[in-house]
Amino acid sequence: MPVKDVGLVDQGVVNPVEPFLRSDRMPHIWCPGCGIGTTVNCFARALIESKIDLQSLALVSGIGCTGRVAGYVKLDSFHTTHGRAIPFATGLKLANPKLNVVVYSGDGDLSAIGGNHLIHAARRNIDLKVICVNNLIYAMTGGQTAPTTPGHATTSTNPYGTFEPAFNLPHLVEAAGAVYVARWTTFHVRQLARSIGEAFQKKGFSFIEVISPCPTLYQRRNKMGDGLDTMKYYKEQSKTRHGAPTSEVGLTLKGEIIVGKFVDRDRPDYQTMMRAQYVEALGERFVEAPEMVCS
C-alpha cells in the first residue's frame, strides 16, 4: 500500500525523540546498518517513559563510534578522551550529586583503554548509568581486534583470526561490584529501553551492554551479512535468561547470545558511604558539601 501523506509535518508533528537530539548536527556519522542509532532511540524512549528531568541529566562519552553519541544528544554532553568517560563522569557526579550522569560509550573505550576505570567505578559503586554499545570491534579506526572480539573472528589486526580470550563484560562488572547488569541486542529495542529506565531507578553503578552490529567491518569481514542479516541472527540466536549467572554469558563468534537482566542488587553507593563515614568520624565537624557551583 502506498504511503499516504497525511500532512504530519504541516501539522507540526515531530518524532517523539526529536527533543532529545541535536537535529542541527544531522546527518550523523554512523554507517547504514549500524546499531548505535537504534540504541540512542531506545535511550530517548527510556527518558520519555521515565520522565527524567532533562536539565538534570548529563551524558558523557569517550572516543569511538559510540563516543559520538554525546555530540548528538541535546543534553549537557561531554565528549571526553579515549577511555576516560567514567572518571570524567565521576568528577561531574561528585561535584553535583543532583545530576543524573550517563556514560555512553563503546566496548573498546570502556573495557580496553578505560578498563581500569570501569572496574574501579563499579567497585566504588559510583552512581553512574553506563551504556556500553558492544560491536565486538574497534570500528572508528577500521576494524581492529577489541578485548571483546570473540575467538576466531577475523579483524584487520588478526587477519588469520583472533585467538585471545575475550572479556565477558557482564561477568567483569558484576565481579567488580555493579548493582545492575543487563545485556540486550539492538534487536531488543523495548527490552533495552525498559532496562535503561530500570537503571535510572537504581542508585549505584549500573551497566547495560548492548550487542550491536558493525556491518561495515565486523559483519562483513566475518561473512555475517548486512545489518538485516544481523537482526535475524540476533532474533534467532538470542536467549533471554534473566538472572543467568554472568559466568555463563560469554559470547562466541556465531553462537547463542544470552540476554536479559543478570544482576539487580542493592548496596550503598559511593556518596552515601562517604557521607556516612565522615559523619561517624567527624561528628559535628563534618560540613556537608554545599553546592559547589562557584558563581
Binding site: 558523557v60 561531554f78 576516560r84 570524567f88 561528585l94 561535584a95 560540613v287 556537608e288 562557584c294
Partner: protein, 387 residues
C-alpha cells in the same frame, strides 16, 4: 571577590610547601581534588583529604593519574574549582588531559612537585626537569600558564594566584614546585579571608537561547556554563566551533587553535611575575626560579661582595615565558647566568629571547640535590669576564 572564609586557615603557621599549597587551594575556593599517591607530592592531597570534609567538599583518590587528571575536569564542569597533584611519572600520565583542559578551556590547576627523572628517577629528591614538559608535554599547539614558588609562603600565595589565573584565562595552570620547596618547613602567614582576592568563574549571564559555549568577545576567553543549569551544551576535545560542535576543517582549526594560544600570549606581560634586584647597571643577570633561586642568592651575594655588578631576575611565572623582560635586559647586560636543576631547559628560552645580544651561560645540575653556590659563582665570574 573575596575568599570564602570557611577555606581560609587565617594565622601564622610553621608548615611545609606541600601543606601550604593545600591551604592555598582551599583559600582559593578549591573544593574538589582528585589524586593518586606519588612522592614527593602526596602530602598536598593528604592534607586536603583531612581538611575538605570540614570545609564542605570532596577528595577522591583515583585508580591512576589518567583518571585523576580527568575526574577533576568533570568536577569543574559540575561547578567546582578543582585540582590535582602529582610528580614526574604521574605528570607524564596527565599530559593527555592537560591537552583536554586546554582544548575544552577547563579552568583547573595541576600541581607538579618535581623530582629527578627520567622515568622513576629519584622519587625523594629534587629536580626542575619538568619545565619543558609543563609547556609542551601534550600534543598539538596550546598555551598554558606555569608558576614557580620558591618558599612555603609562596606555595600558599601562588596557589591562589594559580587558581585565579586558571579562571581568568580558562586554561590549565601548572604549579611547578620542586621536592625541596615541597618538603621545606617555614613560616607561612595566612591572611584573613577578606584580604584574599579570588577570581570567580567566568559564568555566563546569557539566556539559554543566546548562549554559545565557545563564543568570545574582545578578550578571547569564552563564558562558561555548568552541567545541570539548563544550557544543554556540548563539550568536545575535537576541533569545534562556537557552538561547541565538532567542525574539522582547517579554517575552524586555525581560528580555534590560534585563539587558544593568543588568549594567553597576548597577556604575557600582564601574567609575568618576577622578582628583580639590582638589574640597573648590572653586567651579569642571574635568571633562576624555584629552589635554585635561593641557592643562587648566595652566589649573587658573594659575587657582589667581590665587586661584581650582578643583577637578579627570579622567574615566578615560567610560562608564558616573559621574553620581553629578557629582551630588554639583553640590550643592557653582558650576560645571563641560568642555574637550574636540569641539563638546560629554561636557559634555552633565555637564550632565544636574548637573541645574541647578551651571552647565556647555563649552570646545569642533573638533580638529586641543589647546586653548590660555588658552581654558580664560578659561572658568574666567567660570565662577568666575557666581552
Amino acid at each position: 571577590m573575596k575568599a570564602d572564609p570557611r577555606g581560609v586557615l587565617t594565622g601564622v603557621h610553621f608548615i611545609d610547601g606541600d601543606h601550604a599549597c593545600c591551604e592555598g587551594a582551599l583559600a582559593a575556593g578549591a573544593r574538589f581534588a582528585a589524586g593518586y599517591p606519588i612522592t614527593p607530592s602526596t602530602e598536598v592531597v593528604e592534607r586536603f583529604a583531612a581538611r575538605v570534609p570540614t570545609v564542605g567538599g570532596t577528595f577522591i583518590q583515583m585508580e591512576d593519574e589518567l583518571a585523576a587528571s580527568i575526574t577533576l575536569q568533570g568536577a569543574v564542569w559540575g561547578g567546582a574549582k578543582a585540582f590535582t597533584v602529582t610528580s614526574g611519572p604521574g605528570f607524564s600520565l596527565m599530559m593527555e588531559h592537560i591537552g583536554y583542559a586546554a582544548m575544552t578551556e577547563t579552568p583547573c590547576v595541576f600541581v607538579d612537585v618535581q623530582r629527578g627523572g627520567p622515568s622513576t628517577g629519584l622519587p625523594t629528591l629534587p629536580a626542575q626537569a619538568d619545565m619543558m614538559q609543563a609547556r609542551w608535554g601534550s600534543h598539538g599547539d596550546y598555551e598554558i600558564i606555569a608558576l614557580c614558588p620558591n618558599s612555603p609562603q609562596e606555595c600558599f600565595d601562588l596557589t591562589i594566584k594559580a587558581f585565579n589565573l586558571a579562571e581568568e584565562f580558562r586554561v590549565p595552570v601548572m604549579f611547578m614546585m620542586d621536592e625541596v620547596v615541597g618538603h621545606m618547613t617555614e613560616k607561612v602567614v595566612i591572611p584573613p579571608a577578606d584580604e584574599i582576592e579570588v577570581t570567580p568563574r567566568r559564568h555566563t549571564h546569557k539566556a539559554v537561547e543566546d548562549y554559545l559555549p565557545y563564543q568570545t568577545n574582545g578578550d578571547m576567553v569564552p563564558e562558561m556554563a555548568h552541567a545541570g543549569e539548563g544550557y544543554r551544551f556540548h563539550v568536545t576535545g575535537l576541533t569545534h566551533d562556537e557552538r561547541g560542535y565538532p567542525n574539522m576543517t582547517p579554517q575552524t582549526q586555525d581560528k580555534l587553535v590560534r585563539r587558544l594560544q593568543n588568549k594567553v600570549r597576548a597577556a604575557t606581560d600582564r601574567i609575568a611575575m618576577f622578582e628583580e634586584e639590582q638589574l640597573e647597571g648590572a653586567d651579569v643577570v642571574v635568571v633562576s626560579y624555584g629552589i635554585t633561586s635561593r641557592v643562587a642568592q648566595r652566589a649573587i651575594d658573594v659575587a657582589r661582595e667581590r665587586g661584581m655588578r650582578v643583577g637578579k631576575l627570579r622567574l615566578i611565572t615560567a610560562w608564558p615565558f616573559p621574553e620581553n623582560k629578557i629582551r630588554e635586559l639583553a640590550a643592557e647586560v653582558k650576560a645571563f647566568v641560568v642555574p637550574e636543576l636540569n641539563l638546560g631547559q629554561m636557559v634555552r628560552e633565555v637564550e632565544r629571547a636574548a637573541d645574541g645580544r647578551a651571552k647565556t651561560y647555563p649552570v646545569s645540575h642533573a638533580g638529586g640535590g641543589v647546586h653548590n653556590p660555588e658552581e654558580i659563582l664560578r659561572v658568574i665570574v666567567e660570565a662577568s669576564r666575557c666581552r
